[in-house]
């Protein structure tokens, strides 16, 4: 007899997500993913100045802050056919790259590690053995027995205080927790260390963007930080070098700690490799443009259907009709008026609030579709699309990570291990490492260009009478993001955001095709329906952001 469980709130994510699953015979047999909060930004934007839109939509999300801002200015520039200077392009790339480092580190350590790491079990660990374990994996200097002992003492003090705070009432001792105490202690130590390194990334981002979350250095037509190497109030070498320094430090943590921890978790939880595949259609955008006109990119885009890597189709640029013409959103099962499926430029947002109804409308998310199909987006999609196209950086990164897992697990693990819950985590770590390299590369490109005497940062927009349509495509930490704008006489007529988490967390459509979260939960094991830790594992592997998804 199937048992129905509702998990609401799903925690350690951004936003208000409710997951319902049917469990039968210790495994999930059906699932519903439901966004529980609506704000109406697409409505609020109507009639406003398109130059202001990026400030509004950036508030869609403070976790992936920057990405909506970037997509929005791109959308308006696309509508106006307004080119931006090369410096602006490269500075935006630094924003994208650095923010990504912070976002991926925080996701793995702060938002998902506790699904796999048992904090309480760390109390049984021997700090010296922990050091031996850590040193066998990496020569990171932070892995000393002294530090591990201090972390252990800290955990002990916390537990003994009786005030567990955010660690109260969790899944400690759950039968699905498999790491030995030493691995747990190492992970808790890295959890704390990650907090320092994510902050370094945000400091670097702050230098470029004025503040974050919610950067303030963009504008339609370019960026706002004037470049003048001979002025203290502008972007100059002192600021640029501080950025580089911080990125290098963070890169060290990513390569020596994050990637290694991920490989260790992957190897020690090898029995989880088959779970969480779900939708195996993948979609990713090209990004990190190398030139002002955005014709060449450092991150590849494309689609893979039905897990067929050989059949990969490239998305060549940010306004490739192959992408632009094939996107639609369905509201058949969303809390909106009607049951249509429309292209974003024709789409609208008319809320029709109602209660969760598993057989009818049950979520505030729309359901995006590509050529009518649900698609999975995110680091995994991007790594697969790049891998399938033979992208050098990605192939090396993925193979390196798989070798590391194979080494720790003691058996050969191939790229098929990437599909699924753990694969999504691994792909994210590989992408994070790649982005650290690319950030440094684009830093070099920027400094070279400034050195050549080019100080341009801005081309002023002008808004002609009549109607213009644009799309701003961007590869966000959680996957492909697109903003669609229709401008009429200099004012916004329609604005639609189709967001990574909308693709992944969206509900069913009129054809009853499950969204990626829903599909990925099918067949997940559930040891104890009262404490459905396994559901959290798979859901967290997508890095949910529901404020993004609904907006």
């Amino acid at each position: 007899m199937a048992q129905k469980i509702t998990i609401d709130p799903i925690t350690r994510i951004e936003g208000h997500l409710r997951i319902d699953v049917e469990v039968d015979g210790g495994a999930v047999t059906n699932a519903w993913s439901s966004g529980q909060m609506f704000r109406g930004l697409e409505i609020i934007l109507q009639g406003r100045d398109p130059r202001d839109a990026w400030h509004f939509v950036q508030r869609i999300c403070g976790v992936c802050t920057t990405v909506h801002a970037l997509a929005s200015v791109r959308a308006v520039e696309d509508a106006l056919k307004l080119p931006i200077p090369l410096n602006a392009q490269l500075i935006r790339n630094l924003v994208q790259g650095i923010h990504c480092l912070h976002d991926h580190i925080v996701h793995f350590y702060a938002l998902s590690a506790l699904d796999w790491v048992d904090v309480v079990s760390a109390l049984d660990a021997d700090p010296v053995k922990t050091q031996q374990l850590a040193e066998s994996l990496s020569d990171w200097p932070g892995n000393s027995a002294k530090r591990f002992a201090a972390v252990k003492a800290k955990v002990k003090a916390l537990v003994e205080s009786g005030q567990l705070g955010p660690f109260a009432n969790a899944y400690w001792g759950h039968s699905a927790m498999k790491l030995p105490p030493e691995a747990n202690l190492m992970a808790v130590s890295h959890y704390l260390e990650a907090l320092d390194y994510q902050r370094k990334a945000t400091t670097a981002l702050g230098i470029i963007s004025g503040k974050n979350p919610h950067i303030q250095n963009l504008s339609v037509g370019g960026v706002t930080a004037a470049i003048n190497l001979d002025n203290e109030a502008t972007l100059n070498m002192e600021r640029l070098f501080r950025v580089k320094d911080l990125v290098q430090e963070v890169r060290g943590f990513i390569n020596n700690v994050y990637l290694v921890d991920l490989a260790a978790v992957g190897a020690l939880y090898a029995e989880w490799l088959p779970y969480g595949h779900g939708v195996t259609n993948y979609l990713a955008a090209p990004d990190m443009p190398l030139d002002a006109a955005a014709t060449k990119f450092d991150l590849p885009g494309g689609t893979i259907m039905g897990g067929d890597l050989a059949g990969v189709t490239a998305i060549k640029n940010l306004s490739d009709p192959f992408f632009k013409d094939n996107v639609q959103e369905s509201i058949a099962r969303g809390f909106y008026d009607g049951d249509w499926q429309k292209h974003p430029w024709e789409s609208e947002t008319v809320p029709a609030a109602q209660d969760f109804n598993a057989d009818g409308k049950y979520s505030w998310l729309k359901a995006p579709r590509f050529q009518g199909k649900p698609m999975q987006v995110g680091p995994l999609a991007q790594m697969l699309v790049g891998y399938a196209q033979g992208h050098e950086g990605i192939v090396n990164g993925v193979n390196g990570a798989l070798d590391l897992v194979s080494k720790i697990a003691g058996t050969k693990v191939g790229p098929e291990a990437l599909f699924g819950t753990l694969g999504r985590h691994a792909a994210r770590a590989v992408r994070c490492s790649l982005m650290a390299d690319l950030t440094l590369k684009h830093w070099d490109l920027l400094v070279d260009n400034i050195g050549s005497g080019d100080l341009e940062i801005f081309n002023p927009p002008t808004f002609p009478k009549g109607e213009q349509k644009g799309v701003g495509v961007h590869e966000a930490p959680r996957g492909l993001l697109s903003h669609w704008i229709v401008i009429q006489d200099g004012k916004i007529k329609n604005y639609q955001a189709v967001v990574p988490s909308t693709w992944n967390a969206g509900p069913r459509d009129a054809q009853d095709q499950l969204g990626p979260y829903e599909a990925s939960l099918l067949e997940n094991p559930i040891a104890d329906p009262e404490r459905p830790l396994e559901v959290l594992r798979t859901i967290h592997s997508f890095d949910p952001c529901i404020a993004c998804a609904v907006h």
Binding site: T11, G62, V63, Q163, G165, E193, T224
Partner: protein, 361 residues
């Protein structure tokens, strides 16, 4: 290397770093050095004060600021200073286990916990636009605030409704003080706010068992007492009439004042130019972009378009969209025309009828 050892672990570094945090907070609060030991003591007492943090219509940007705070940093904050009993973005438990954690803390600490709210509260259609474990944000706020000692509304969403309350406010979003009337409330506005202002408020409360002095919008004076403009490093350029005319121009490269490209510093109250952000000594103006007024009520409507000086803004209310100066100039033109016609009619009449009796001068 020292950096890679988290401050919260090393008793020496910990104490030094923490003292520094308290000293900074004391300075920000305008307190004397002698208060520092008292703050340290208050903040490190055996029982950490319980904090419950609720998320409503928000983007989590406010929570994200805590990850960027360094004095104290997030680990110190939640392991050493407060007991963060409920916080959906950070807590390990989910679903029933999370609800239970909330319930337990509310019962055990009734009347003693600080409630922090992040996000606006939708009130249209009885609040169906935001639900957590089946309850609306309105219900949850009422329930959890009823047993709180004090409420901190963190961020412009929680203080004034925020971005979702921008016209036409489709969900009827409001700030906390529109709904909670029987508890002390402190508003820490900003989108997001500077975490220094949150930490300063919390440390003040822990030290003195009362909230800091506030302005008439319930914002702590130590952080929102003066205009951005009054402490801006570009202020001399403003006074001297040296302005950036367009991003990227010669004046922009010289660091001139951003007033003409829309800076709202002159009407925005916050300590951004003093406290700065991200441990990087920066704030929006230092990257050449005007302040958009994010600490002020309704700034999404009153400060837009962000790249123009008012009054090139919408006529408030009733959805009439027009530029005030354009209307003004037109009305003046119509007036001039009317005056001209009026005078012409008078002259015409005089030409036809001759001087009338009363015209005798």
């Amino acid at each position: 290397m020292a950096d890679t050892v988290n401050k919260t672990l090393d008793p020496h570094v910990n104490r030094r770093g923490f003292l520094k945090g308290c000293t900074m907070a004391a300075a920000a609060l305008g307190l004397s050095e002698s208060m520092v030991p008292k703050m340290v003591e208050a903040a490190t007492s055996a029982q950490r004060p319980p904090v419950i943090w609720l998320h409503f219509q928000e983007c989590t940007g406010c929570t994200e600021t805590l990850l960027r705070g360094a004095h104290p940093d997030i680990a110190q904050l939640i392991l050493d200073i407060i007991s963060l009993d409920y916080h959906e973005t950070i807590m390990a438990a989910a679903g029933y286990q999370a609800e239970q954690a909330l319930h337990d803390s509310m019962e055990k600490n009734a009347g003693k916990y600080i409630l922090v709210v992040e996000g606006g509260i939708p009130t249209a259609l009885n609040g169906v636009y935001c639900k957590i474990s089946g309850k609306t944000a309105m219900e949850m706020l009422e329930e959890v605030s009823s047993k709180a000692a004090a409420v901190i509304a963190y961020g412009t969403c929680a203080t004034f409704g925020g971005v979702q309350a921008a016209k036409p406010n489709p969900t009827g979003a409001v700030g906390v003080d529109q709904l909670v009337h029987d508890k002390p409330i402190i508003n820490i506005s900003g989108c997001p706010p500077n975490p220094v202002n949150f930490l300063g408020t919390v440390l003040h409360y822990l030290t003195f068992q009362r909230l800091p002095a506030v302005d008439s919008l319930k914002r702590p004076k130590f952080a929102y007492g003066r205009r951005i403009h009054d402490h801006c490093e570009r202020r001399a350029h403003f006074d001297e009439g040296r302005f950036v005319e367009q991003f990227g121009d010669e004046y922009h490269k010289l660091g001139y004042c951003l007033f003409k490209v829309g800076c709202k510093g002159p009407e925005t109250f916050a300590n951004c130019p003093v406290a700065r952000f991200n441990e990087a000594g920066v704030w929006p103006v230092s990257v050449g972009h005007g302040c958009i007024g994010c600490t002020e009520p309704d700034f999404w409507d009153t400060m837009t378009p962000f790249y123009d000086r008012i009054p090139n803004v919408k006529i408030p209310g009733a959805g009439i969209v027009a530029d005030a100066d354009k209307i003004g100039t037109k009305v003046l033109g119509v007036t001039a025309a009317a005056v001209g016609i009026h005078a012409a009619v008078g002259i015409g009449k005089r030409l036809i009828k001759g001087k009338s009796d009363s015209d005798v001068g």
